[in-house]
């Protein structure tokens, strides 16, 4: 590879950074720092804008690079990810989006706290939201590090560290100066760029095979060396039953986790009504579905055009399959077309990471300021504006994410994302569904549901083969591995639901009929919604 594509990619990426910083300055002029403005951008986005922003928030580098890479290496087993990531949106559309928009103001805890004693519930929901966000952030930071290593053509630790620090600094700037308005526009720009890049590559792959999808699949199967087994499940998650249960666990976490992700929930507050929230989810399902269909073509395309061996040679986890595919489709290394396409793909992937981390940082700073700080501050303390606290929280979370991102540099990105989804599904989803749909749900039930999902999920990860007990784990020298699966979802999600039920039936408190009525009426009609 020559240095040309690196220079061009850096140039394109700098242009993106310049544009996004311009957006941040532009939207933050003449704005008073009200909470309404900072957390939800004044609630004035249109469904289409919000749909693009949701898609921009959701389509992370892990899906763009990770899923296509997995398909390129393992064939059909990578495709299972795409399906889980998309089907999850039905849970959001049917059970969560409209009702949450109607009941809450800024965060997940708003919805639950409306029916319960506020303090314990806010602390619990705030803690789990911040935990989920930090896990997800670390995944994106690690992705940024690996991407820059690829881009600069060397894997020097200093370059990776600087990439992580740079991404962290940029996201703190976007969030603390621009709030939700800047974050949303950055996500919209990124969604358009990412979709345009993906469409271009997909068309080029299909042109290469003269529009014959069948030929594409057969070529991919042939080059993979696995024959038709490449087109069927089992290459990655076949084998023993531990691996199979691990996959089922992951599948469950993917489909239930999306509805518990704080940065996705907060997007529904940026539109004026529940109807607009529904229409934005319909937009985003269309965009996300189309995107994942194209990643399938790109994945099999990379297997057919580049070949799994070349992909594996560049990055063992397959994360570089799409950039390599772009290089080949443009005419190969050293040609102008190849250089340009490679640079575009790399810059788009960078933009993707920046937009996603900005969204997560904003959501978690809202949880810190609106839920944790508001509940935990001393009564006699000097009152500060919530927005000032949120800005400081964004900075603190940025520092924490940079530090963890540097520590976790060698962990697999897709694994970290799966973990964040598992924690979200175990800790956030049960409490949300119970408070929206269960008449008898009580404060104790709410608190138990959160911790009863959060603690087992985290403990099971510590006891899993990811942390210790095998040569690939984080601490290969230690052995505290008692739990066989890498993803805790299969156990911890049912535990979260069970704990919420148990807490409710054992509590002496009787659920407040009137407040349940208020939640139900408000959630379905939008009465009193802000």
């Amino acid at each position: 590879m020559t240095g040309n594509h690196q220079t061009l990619a850096l140039l394109l990426f700098s242009a993106f950074v310049a544009v996004t910083l311009g957006i941040t300055t532009w939207v933050s002029r003449n704005r008073q720092g009200s909470e309404e403005e900072f957390y939800v951008g004044g609630r004035l986005f249109s469904p289409m804008e919000n749909g693009f922003a949701i898609a921009g928030d959701y389509m992370s580098a892990a899906s763009f690079l990770g899923i296509s890479g997995l398909i390129a290496l393992y064939g059909y087993d990578g495709l299972l990810y795409s399906v889980g990531f998309l089907v999850a949106w039905l849970v959001v559309l049917f059970l969560v989006a409209e009702l949450v928009r109607n009941c809450g103001r800024f965060t997940l805890a708003d919805v639950v706290a409306a029916r319960m004693r506020e303090r314990p519930v806010r602390i619990a929901a705030g803690t789990s939201s911040v935990t989920v966000s930090v896990l997800y952030l670390v995944a994106q930071m690690v992705g940024a590090g690996s991407l820059v290593a690829l881009l600069l053509g060397n894997t020097s630790e200093a370059a990776q560290s600087w990439a992580v620090i740079g991404v962290g600094a940029l996201m703190v700037i976007y969030v603390s100066f621009g709030g939700m308005r800047a974050t949303t526009w950055i996500q919209i720009v990124k969604a358009v760029l990412l979709l345009a890049g993906t469409i271009a590559l997909t068309v080029l792959v299909l042109l290469r095979f003269h529009g014959d999808f069948d030929r594409l699949l057969l070529t991919a199967a042939e080059r993979s060396g696995h024959g038709t087994a490449f087109l069927a499940p089992g290459l990655k998650y076949g084998g023993d039953w531990t691996a199979r249960f691990d996959f089922m666990s992951l599948g469950l976490a993917l489909v239930l986790g999306t509805a518990g992700l704080p940065h996705i929930l907060s997007r529904f507050y940026t539109v004026p009504t529940a109807r607009a929230a529904r229409r934005s989810v319909v937009w985003s399902i269309g965009l996300i579905g189309g995107f994942y269909l194209m990643t399938i073509v790109l994945g099999f395309g990379a297997a057919a055009v580049v070949g799994p061996d070349a992909v594996r040679g560049s990055n063992a986890a397959g994360n570089t399959a799409v950039p390599l595919l772009a290089l080949d489709l443009g005419g190969g290394a050293g040609t102008t077309g190849g250089t340009v396409l490679f640079a575009i793909v790399a810059a788009v992937a960078f933009a993707t990471i920046l937009a996603v981390v900005a969204g997560i940082t904003l959501a978690s700073s809202a949880s810190v300021a609106h839920d944790l700080y508001a509940s935990l501050r001393r009564r006699d303390a000097k009152p500060r504006s919530e927005v000032a606290v949120a800005r400081a929280a964004a900075f603190g979370i940025g520092v924490l994410a940079i530090a963890l991102g540097l520590l976790a540099r060698d962990l697999n990105v897709a694994f970290l994302v799966g973990l964040a989804f598992a924690v979200a599904a175990s800790a956030n989803l049960p409490v949300l569904l119970y408070s929206l749909f269960w008449r008898g749900f009580t404060t104790r039930g709410a608190v138990w549901a959160v911790y009863g999902g959060l603690v087992p999920a985290l403990v099971l990860v510590v006891l899993s083969p990811v942390v210790s007990g095998s040569p690939e784990s984080l601490f290969p020298g230690v052995d505290i591995q008692y739990f066989p699966l890498q993803n805790p979802g299969l156990v911890s999600i049912p535990l979260g639901f069970l704990a919420g039920w148990l807490g409710t039936v054992t509590s002496a408190e009787v659920a407040d009929e009137a407040r349940h009525a208020e939640t139900e009426v408000r959630s379905l009609t939008g009465a009193g919604a802000v």
Binding site: V83, F94, R244, V521, A527
Partner: protein, 154 residues
Amino acid sequence: MRYEDPWYDALASGWGEPGTAGTRGAEVPAARRERKDREDGAVAAAQVYLEVQRSAAFQEVRSRYRRFVGPAVAGFFLWYVAYVVTATAAPGFMARPVAGAVNVALLAGLGQFLSTFLLTWAYARHARLRRDRAALELRWDTQELTRGARGGAL
């Protein structure tokens, strides 16, 4: 639909009208009276939500929502779980070829995409045609009632 309308009672109490409050509130400190009225208002507003919840119009909206969402959630969730379990437990079945390079697994995967798009479309249509209008009317009615119950202070 009929609610017991606390709107007129609240008006009669005269909260928020400086003229009457000043003359009648001579013996009670004004701040305390206002707070008491506000608490009464909150209780009355809670009563409004209970009444709306019991009204036939609301129950119709709720049951339309639940009659669609319940079966739809059960349907797509079972279909997804069946897909994941089959893919992991019976890869041999999934590998069975159908036409050319396309096998059962590929058809099932694309089927998941297709069913997601179809259900999204069906839900949006159902909500638009069967729920939105009634929900909006209930929203205005409820807000009017709670505003009345809170003595016009909202």
